[in-house]
């Protein structure tokens, strides 16, 4: 695992999400959403590169707020995709893809 991938794991853990699905109790949902996001955005980078993109410069305390702002901007701009009816932002899709 590269440093950047480790960064995003830490960031997501700070947000309450873990790649093992410890919060949800079942990682199947996260994995399925991540795969679906990759299917509709085939140019999506690898998990490590996603981590680098989502957390440029590594983890800082400001990153949670930045992610929230980015999600909101996605919704406002219509940068969204649909998974089994759920309207989700591209940033959320990327987060799930990074987890997967």
């Amino acid at each position: 695992m590269s440093v950047r991938r480790r960064d995003i794991m830490l960031a997501l853990a700070a947000l309450g999400l873990t790649p093992t699905g410890a919060v949800a109790g079942d990682p199947a949902g996260e994995r399925a959403i991540g795969q679906a996001y990759r299917a509709v955005r085939p140019a999506t980078a690898s998990a490590d590169r996603l981590a680098a993109e989502l957390l440029p410069g590594g983890w800082t305390p400001a990153n949670a707020a930045r992610l929230r702002a980015r999600v909101a901007a996605d919704y406002r701009a219509g940068r969204t995709f649909v998974f089994r009816g759920w309207r989700l932002s591209d940033t959320e899709g990327a987060l799930f893809a990074a987890l997967g």
Binding site: G29, I33, R68, Y75, R76, F83, R84, W86, E92
Partner: protein
Amino acid sequence: MALIDARDAPDGSEIEADIVIIGGGVAGAVLGRELAGSTLRVAILEGGGRTADPASQELYKGAGVLTSPDGSERRIDAFLTDSRARMLGGTGNIWGGRCIPLTPADFRRNPWTPNSGWPLSRRTLDPFYARACDHLSVPRFAAGSAGLPTYEVSSDFWSQPGYWSPCTGNRDRGLFDTFRAGHAEAVNIDIWINANVREIVLDAASDTIDHLEIACLNGRRHTARARAYVLATGGIENARLLLASNRVRSEGLANRQGLVGRYFQGHVAYIARAKADETTSMLMTAGGDLTPYDFPTDRRAHLTLATTEKGRKRLRTGGFDVNIYRRYKIDPTPAASAVTDMARRLDGGAGDPVHHVIGVQAEQPPVPESRVVLGRDADALGMPRVELQWRLPASHWDTLERSVDALGHGLGASGRGRLCWPFERARYSEISVLARHHIGTTRMSRDPEHGVVDADCRAHDVANLYVAGSSVFPTSGIANPTLTLVALAIRLADHLKRDRRVRR
């Protein structure tokens, strides 16, 4: 003055009054209540009795087909009988009681909605809405969200207030009995039950109604004469009776433009609950406790998010609302759990997100091809049975989908939730629910070319004929129609009291 059973009156009885109201449902009852104690003699003719009677209800049978925007057809014969009650109090006997006024935007003409626009404004109707609330025992609506808690999403949506009336046969039977029949105690009001108006007979020379022919299921026949007549038999039956009154004019009554029965609209709700699949639902991350939205008297949650006029303009849609229900349980799928976890962390709301089932409604734009016509079969009284050809135009689904997307995006952008709408068009029909609303078949217009009645609800073609009920709505909005039809009935009663042709 009295409640009279037409079956017991001597055959050939002649009923005379200043005003005859055809139909003793909600609109007819409100007209009676408003006219009680006035100087006008009023006779209300109700086809049914005090209680449900299968033989009377059978008169409502007919054929119905609902055609979806994709051309798929669904037989809805049962809708004609299940969505109506032929008895004193009418469909008020089975009414859910939900009261919501139409919004100011509902009355305006939208360039992107053909055939939209009322000849009166919400401001004109406001005082009558207030009185309508009194009739239906609900609080008068204050401005905006009426002081009720709001759930802010975006400028495209607002928390639309609604109240639940106890004045229905489903709720407070005693209150409803007074509502539907109490005015018969006034000295100037007679209510005739089991008095089916089979034909409205026109005096061709004067373009006025000469008399009504009344038939009872026991074979007795009567007539009724008045200075003015109000047709108030519901959105389907109003058209049926006008079309069937074709002895003098082959096209029927008030139908020179061929508009009677056309522009039929209803309200179609879409909702799905399934254990193993995603549900039409909303994840609320900014407080999902619906208790604050409960109406104090019955604990029914009534949180409704509806599109604003600004939102409709931006999206080029008709009315849309989402009703958020507490009473259904959702078994979360793995995907729903993952979304919930992600949204909880990203939105940072206080407490756990709550996942609620939603039902959505999208306005059906009025199209002339959606219509009520006469069928070939006749009922037990010899009247042609009704045939409902209900067509949903493509713009109905466009409104639905654009609004659903806008709500989903608004929830995510505001950090107040996420939306799940898991169906494609091919499956809309299976999750659709038809409300008991019948709208538009005698639409209101300023000029005779575009409607059946004028802004006072008087028929353009027949000087002494008025129409009450949701059949006069040019457009349906998405609000339940009862409050609005009550407001219009009150306004009509005021008009009749002032009308020199009616006063003696």
